[in-house]
Symmetry: C2
Subunit: 206 residues, 2 copies
DNA sequence: CAGATTACGTACCAAGTGGTACGCAAGTGA
DNA sequence: TCACTTGCGTACCACTTGGTACGTAATCTG
């Protein structure tokens, strides 16, 4: 219905692909740590002048915001989809454990966790997005647990909201340890043990 | 026996108290984060010129090393003493939980945890000390668990070394969350739940 | 073609970083 | 008293940080 205003702009044609740069920034922040990558280095690596970056993103805050936004749409969404797995509660938990400890997707850790840890180094836009994503994540966990309880797949004695925060904290900690270089199987062992609080109220002994 | 060579040095008398500066640096790194405090700011705050700092510590690496050393002797030692509490296994665990979640001693988090997280921003001296302290901590946890098992106070089905790493990871995560501003009682709730894996193999249900 | 409009990058800015050259003050020993 | 030794701080260094003023290249309109 709504045409997307195909009238050509008048001046010089734009050559900077903002999405490409945001993707590149996301990768850099993700793999090297958001506080380790300067705008200078980033613009050089992207083959784009600094003023062009400022024109496209309006400063460092806009850039980190765009990078995190890209990460959320591209990675976090996929992760949260694990919770909707049709194989039931324990399978979903196992999926989370796999993601947070072994998956190559989280080998460099999680950009969201890293940015959350350095929250007050960012501008207001980015901070807002961090908080929104955090709220969204715990809400998703809570909904996941509620649904599992309603379906009778989870009979935990722990209140749902505490369990949600617990889940969130443990996943976050595992991702942080992962990023710090702890070997995947050690991360998995600790995380599995931690989540056994949720899954095993009865004794797993023979 | 060995006299400490009381012959006076020949030149100008030394006025810089290195221990005082190390203490001050430790406090600054601890409360504001080790990556947030520059040598410039530190020397100004200590009322000492920058060359004096370099003379006393030989560079940033020496300074962070001295600060962490001070922290280890002053804070970490006290914490590890909790493990030797004579009130038994559960009391010691409770002491750890209290320290990591509510104690004002860890309100700004733990300098060791913070420096460990930023490990590769430091020089070789500091890195070495970080690693040594990490090894020492997990060794202390392992010894603590071994002793408890030998005394029959702990009958956990979890292997001792895994339990030690688990304990270490959970305490570390709690301190990190604490430093990130999570309220103490929430940190406590999550940490208690996590450590219940170690204490309660049988069902706590009525 | 001329003129308006737009995006581009060179070259700069002030501020802050870790680190140091060097002159001077404050003592000791002869 | 005078040389000598030692610790001190002023004033600098090269470099990086986030951010911008401005001339210019490339396009559309008339």
């Amino acid at each position: 219905m709504s045409d997307d205003t195909p009238k050509k702009p008048r001046g010089r044609p734009q050559t900077l692909d903002a999405d490409r740069v945001a993707e590149l920034a996301m990768q850099a922040y993700w793999h090297e740590g958001p506080t380790e990558v300067s705008i200078n280095a980033l613009s050089a690596r992207a083959g784009v002048s600094k003023p062009s970056l400022y024109r496209a993103f309006g400063g460092e805050d806009g850039l980190t915001h765009a990078a995190l936004r890209t990460y959320a749409a591209q990675v976090l969404a996929e992760v949260l989809a694990i919770l909707d797995a049709p194989d039931g509660f324990e399978a979903a938990l196992e999926g989370l454990v796999h993601y947070a400890s072994e998956s190559p997707l989280s080998d460099p850790g999680c950009l969201f966790v890293k940015m959350r840890a350095a929250r007050d180094r960012f501008g207001p836009q980015t901070r807002g997005l961090i908080d929104a994503l955090a709220d969204g994540a715990t809400a998703a966990y809570a909904a996941f647990l509620d649904a599992a309880r309603a379906r009778g797949e989870w009979t935990g004695r722990v209140p749902t909201d505490l369990a949600a925060r617990y889940l969130s904290a443990q996943i976050e900690a595992a991702l942080a340890r992962r990023a710090a270089g702890v070997p995947p199987d050690e991360v998995r062992a600790v995380l599995s043990l931690a989540l056994s609080v949720l899954t095993a109220p009865d004794r797993p002994d023979p």
